[in-house]
């Protein structure tokens, strides 16, 4: 296991370097001058020069890249042009809100997907299975930026049960988490159904039943445990959708997380902040995938030997 971990960590270094380089390239090499975008084409040359200097764009590209990488190694993501504060600090302040939303969405997705997926597998081919399949297709097809407003109309405006937006009380978390977790729950449910269907005819489950275990114990303890492996794969594959979905969900619900900060930074043309946020979200994604791989290797020794 230690060897596997070490190999995975070593392989991560070129990926992280590549990610940092691509983020730098997006904001520095692509045709189009950030100064033009920030000031507009009518700005005076003197104004442009001041901003160019403030952004460090007056230096040769190679020097900018070297300083950028050196800064990253020190944990320095630069300074926000708009808020005049270190980018790393601004992101750090928003992490807890984003983590809260993403974890709550994940919990909701699992809480919906596991029971429904198992139920659909046990009643495969019946009306219950068809209904669960239809719900899954519907859930996976509704984009978060439409589901969010629909939930607001129903739960906040019509029923008045939940806050429309913001993060003022624990109740504020429910709608954004439900919005973000719905698509994931649909995909997880289909995968749970498929995995449980694969496992149900296995001999060891017949043995467990023959020992006199209740059907509930057989399903939840024996079947689901082995159905977890493909679920981890799906979770790691869906982490990307969850993180990018969070950017939009945070915008819909004015949730003060890193995603909303990214969109606010783009609107304010605050490129150091945009760069920092994009890099941070990509790093979280890479770390999440690494954790999923480790969990997979831990649960299934065959992966380590591959």
């Amino acid at each position: 296991m230690r060897r596997y971990l070490l190999r995975r960590l070593v392989l991560l270094v070129p990926v992280l370097w590549g990610v940092a380089t691509l983020v730098f390239a997006v904001t520095n090499i692509i045709p189009g001058d950030p100064v033009d975008l920030m000031l507009g084409e009518t700005a005076r040359p003197a104004q442009r020069e001041v901003l160019r200097k403030a952004l460090g764009l007056d230096r040769p590209l190679g020097v900018q890249y070297r300083d950028y990488l050196a800064g990253l190694l020190r944990g320095d993501l630069g300074t926000s042009l708009h808020k005049k504060r270190p980018v790393a600090q601004l992101i750090a302040e928003r992490i807890s809100a984003s983590a809260e939303l993403t974890l709550a969405a994940l919990a909701i997705a699992i809480a919906i997907a596991l029971p429904l997926g198992i139920l659909a597998a046990r009643r495969a081919g019946t009306g219950v299975d068809l209904a669960a399949g239809a719900i899954a297709v519907l859930g996976a097809s509704i984009p978060v930026f439409w589901l969010g407003p629909l939930l607001i109309i129903f739960f906040s405006i019509d029923l008045g049960w939940l806050p429309v937006s913001g993060r003022s009380s624990p109740l504020s978390l429910i709608l954004p988490a439900l919005t973000l977790g719905t698509a994931l729950s649909a995909i997880l449910m289909r995968m749970t159904r498929s995995s449980v269907l694969d496992i149900l005819p296995q001999d060891y489950l017949a043995t467990a039943r023959a020992k006199g275990l209740s059907e509930r114990r057989v399903l939840w303890l024996h079947a689901l445990r082995n159905a977890c492996l493909p679920l981890i794969t799906i979770l790691s594959l869906q982490l990307g959708a969850l993180l990018s979905g969070a950017i939009i969900t945070e915008t819909v619900f004015a949730w003060p997380g890193v995603g909303r900060l990214t969109i606010q930074a783009i609107a304010a043309r605050d490129y150091p902040l945009v760069q920092g946020c994009v890099l941070f979200i990509a790093l979280i994604y890479v770390a999440g995938n690494l954790l999923a791989d480790i969990a997979y290797a831990w649960l299934d020794p065959r992966v380590r030997l591959d």
């Binding site: 590549g18 983020v23 097809s141 439409w146 990307g240 990018s244 950017i247 490129y271 945009v274 994009v278």
Partner: protein, 269 residues
């Protein structure tokens, strides 16, 4: 059988959406750009079956015309992604060795950007034009196809008929195009139908965030963003573009499911 039913259902709904979008000049009840401030936010009537937006424009007409943008961007982004991903995957899988190693590390880097994050980053520096939206969606869209094509090429590279073609003196390009790519088209088609659904949602997402197609051009995402400000008093502004978007995505997903069941029975469940 289930595959066929899914294909028929998905294709039928998608065909209706395509016809209504391409034929928007024929089917749209009004000019999608025509302003009527006095009737801003009005609900449905005979002349405006989906109601009117804040500027009094006909929502039904804008939904029909918006479909053109969504479908065009989705198709173009998937086409370019398949093209780039196909070439990268074929070279990596067939050439192997250092080429494979290099190209796969490049895909690793692109895969480190979750969902539409790279497109968001690109659109933050590019002008919000349709062409740039297609470009930014393709910039991350190609990776999945590259991985898929590489895996398929690897599995076919040493098959007897491919070895025979090589032994007969066929050049690498001919072997790859004629003997390998023609045999891996099915999984690529399945992936492309899901990919198009993803690209359409991503385009709408970028427009929703103000980074995609700009007003007054009718885009479903931008219409949803505009409607968000009037949720309390005019929920119909978000209802109809949302239904159009969800129906399009759902039909593509159902079509993809059906195609997968039909073309790749091993995956069927």
């Amino acid at each position: 059988m289930r595959g066929n039913t899914s294909i028929r259902a998905g294709a039928l709904v998608l065909a209706i959406i395509i016809v209504l979008s391409i034929g928007a000049p024929l089917f749209a009840p009004q000019d999608p750009f025509s302003l009527n401030l006095a009737e801003g936010l009005a609900t449905a009537d005979w002349d405006h079956p989906f109601g009117q937006d804040k500027l009094g424009r006909d929502i039904a007409s804008r939904v029909f015309y918006g479909g053109r943008i969504s479908l065009m961007v989705g198709f173009a982004a998937v086409f370019i992604s398949v093209l780039i991903g196909g070439v990268v995957g074929a070279v990596a899988g067939y050439a192997g060795g250092a080429w494979d190693e290099f190209l796969m590390r490049v895909t690793d880097v692109f895969m480190a950007f979750p969902g539409i994050l790279l497109a968001i980053a690109l659109m933050s520096v590019l002008e919000p034009r349709v062409g740039n939206v297609v470009l930014s969606l393709s910039a991350f869209g190609w990776v999945g196809y590259a991985r898929l094509v590489r895996a398929q090429v690897l599995s076919l590279r040493e098959r007897e008929y491919v070895v025979a073609a090589r032994a007969a003196g066929a050049r690498p390009l001919r072997v790859v195009v004629r003997h390998i790519l023609s045999n891996i088209i099915s999984p690529v088609i399945v992936e492309a139908s899901f990919g198009m659904a993803g690209a359409i949602v991503a385009e709408a997402g970028l427009s929703f965030l103000g980074l995609g197609v700009q007003p007054p051009a009718p885009s479903w995402g931008a219409m949803l963003a505009e409607g968000r400000d009037f949720l309390l008093i005019a929920p119909h502004l978000t209802l109809f573009p949302g239904i159009a978007l969800a129906l399009t995505v759902m039909s593509l997903n159902i079509l993809g499911d059906g195609l997968r069941d039909l073309l790749d029975p091993a995956q069927k469940r």
